[in-house]
Symmetry: C2
Subunit: 363 residues, 2 copies
């Protein structure tokens, strides 16, 4: 395991996208989104995904240059066609549009079709927070999660991200898949050669699976499925995770007539590779439309502080609120650098050699 300085790694990501002919402004957006993921400790969505972006841009599955089209617009809403550009660029521009609308009218919402993987869902609420707003972001994804009473991977991990500014050093930021876990975490475990948790994944008969490679293979062959939040029994709320996941799928596809469920498999019916056609939904709310921003920040801060001061379970030393662990992680990573394990180091070397990039030392 080596550690790489944050700024060098961010520059390397930007250089990578520039080498692929991505325009400078857009390469900077991609670098910021990917490094934000590593800073927050969400290793599954940061530099670990760089090779995937490189391969997909090189294969033509993702377009190098964003050609975002506003299909329909109202004072507070817009429908955007991403035309298969880089999801992070499409997400950034779409959330900005939602924020601009919220500045004028109090609220803004943008539905996006024909996009691609857009990095961490939580990045987009952070953009709203910088503008004194509440932000929400949703996306669908490749089928991997099963409905309650089914064993078929139908829904994506379909995350919900919700963020709001506070009077503390860091915002409230909830960013979580509506499944118990997500594909990226299985990929990390696979790289680390560790088993998955018993209760995350079922096979086509409903039996539990723990081998990460078998799970990753099964997910693409309809033979493994992640369980929704609540697991595999209604008694523990399986139908709630499934319902939330469906809500995200609806928001991410039905408002812009985009692809959904199995149409996001990345495969044509003949098995050949297809575009992913991911959908997103972004929302921004101007806090000043409701009350003074400073009052809101104190209100939410008081709420979060009361939660952290709750009586602890015997054996636990600290109660967190959403976004707090990620804030602490960022402080740590800025000091120590981004951790790079051996498999990830190989991926980075592959990208360096493929694109002839010399300016990142990996020893």
């Amino acid at each position: 395991m080596i550690h790489l300085p944050v700024d060098e790694l961010k520059q390397f990501i930007e250089t990578t996208f520039r080498k692929l002919d991505v325009p400078e402004e857009e390469a900077k957006i991609c670098a910021d989104i990917l490094i934000t993921s590593d800073l927050r400790g969400i290793e599954s969505h940061g530099i670990g995904r760089l090779r995937m972006y490189v391969d997909r841009i090189n294969s033509g599955q993702i377009e190098k240059k964003s050609a975002l089209e506003v299909v329909k617009e109202s004072p507070t809403t817009a429908v955007i066609d991403g035309h298969h550009g880089i999801g992070m660029v499409i997400g950034y521009q779409s959330m900005n549009l939602a924020i601009e609308k919220a500045k004028k009218y109090g609220m803004g919402a943008v539905a996006v079709r024909n996009s691609t993987h857009f990095g961490i869902d939580g990045y987009y609420p952070l953009m709203a927070i910088k503008n004194g707003m509440i932000g929400m972001s949703f996306t669908n994804a490749r089928p991997s999660v099963t409905p309650t009473f089914s064993t078929q991977p139908k829904l994506g991990t379909n995350p919900i991200a919700f963020g709001a500014p506070t009077d503390e050093e860091f915002p409230f930021l909830f960013d979580a898949a509506t499944s118990i876990t997500q594909r990226g975490k299985i990929e990390v475990l696979n790289r680390e050669e560790k088993p998955a948790y018993d209760g995350w994944v079922v096979d086509s008969e409903g039996k539990r699976m723990t081998n990460p490679q078998s799970i990753l293979d099964g997910l693409t062959q309809d033979q493994a499925a992640l369980l929704p939040l609540g697991g595999d029994t209604e008694a523990l709320g399986s139908h709630k995770g499934y319902g939330l996941s469906t809500m995200v799928e609806i928001l991410s596809s039905s408002l812009q007539s985009g692809a959904f469920l199995s149409a996001l498999s990345g495969l044509n019916t003949d098995g050949s590779s297809a575009r992913f056609k991911v959908g997103h939904f972004f929302m921004a709310m101007s806090i000043e439309s409701f009350l003074h921003l400073e009052d809101f920040k104190k209100n939410i801060g008081d709420l979060l502080r009361e939660l952290r001061a709750s009586r602890k379970t015997p054996g636990q030393s600290r109660i967190y609120t959403a976004g707090e662990k990620e804030f602490l992680n960022e402080i740590e990573v800025r000091k120590t650098g981004v951790p790079i394990n051996e498999n990830l180091r190989k991926d980075i070397l592959y990208v360096k050699q493929l694109l002839g990039i010399t300016d990142l030392v990996l020893d």
Copy 2:
């Protein structure tokens, strides 16, 4: 167990509120919301709660007459003070305001403070659906749910309701507490003298509780707490249920400087009874601002039909989507009447005698 005809029971609820000096229009709203709960099979929030409303209105904890005040307003947003009126009336009027704003600008959101229990969360999205919109509704509630790593009941059951029209006979309607279960279900089990599920509730040491009366007592004495969706381990996503619950608490209090967490206990610091000061948040989105309503209905219908056609877990005969079981229940209850068990029958008799209502036969 007896069954009472839907129309007679609805009329009885309306008469009850009229006898309490609630204005006719508002009594009709209350009757419609409570009977909708029983029709959908959410017994915990229907006629089973009538006695609670009666007692609280009689004690002055809930004001008979709604005096809803718009504190602040923008094109798409409003802050409302409910001044301790009946939550169902406040909710109805506030959601209507959000819908009116969405008609003009595409989106509308209304934050409410100083309200009281507003019935089923899912009623309000149904109002949006009747107007060709997507509706969302959130509310905080008495402390009963513990943060991850805590055993203290701090958060309410904080439900999320999301509804959208479809091209089928019934809409998509997700309506669920962000805890695994909710107080109302424990109350139903208590009336039925059945144990709670092992894994829903913990005591102050983090040990599981199943006796419904002990749980109900413990919840008001800080000695029992419902677990958030995901249960008591991060491995199964406890922090996700906790985070979603916090999101609902923020939306339901921070935007209108209302009460939150322990301030919703219904008790003053000296132990005397206090007002509940519940907060809500309503949102409506005009679908026509994004695309033709008929296209949306087909999109979401296709999505839901694909989910239902998923491969079934061995032993399961049917896959549902949110709102489907409730639709089937409504068909059944309209035929057979609302089921009334012995404890509930006693509550209804109490209300009849207290208010001198003669027009509901209970035999």
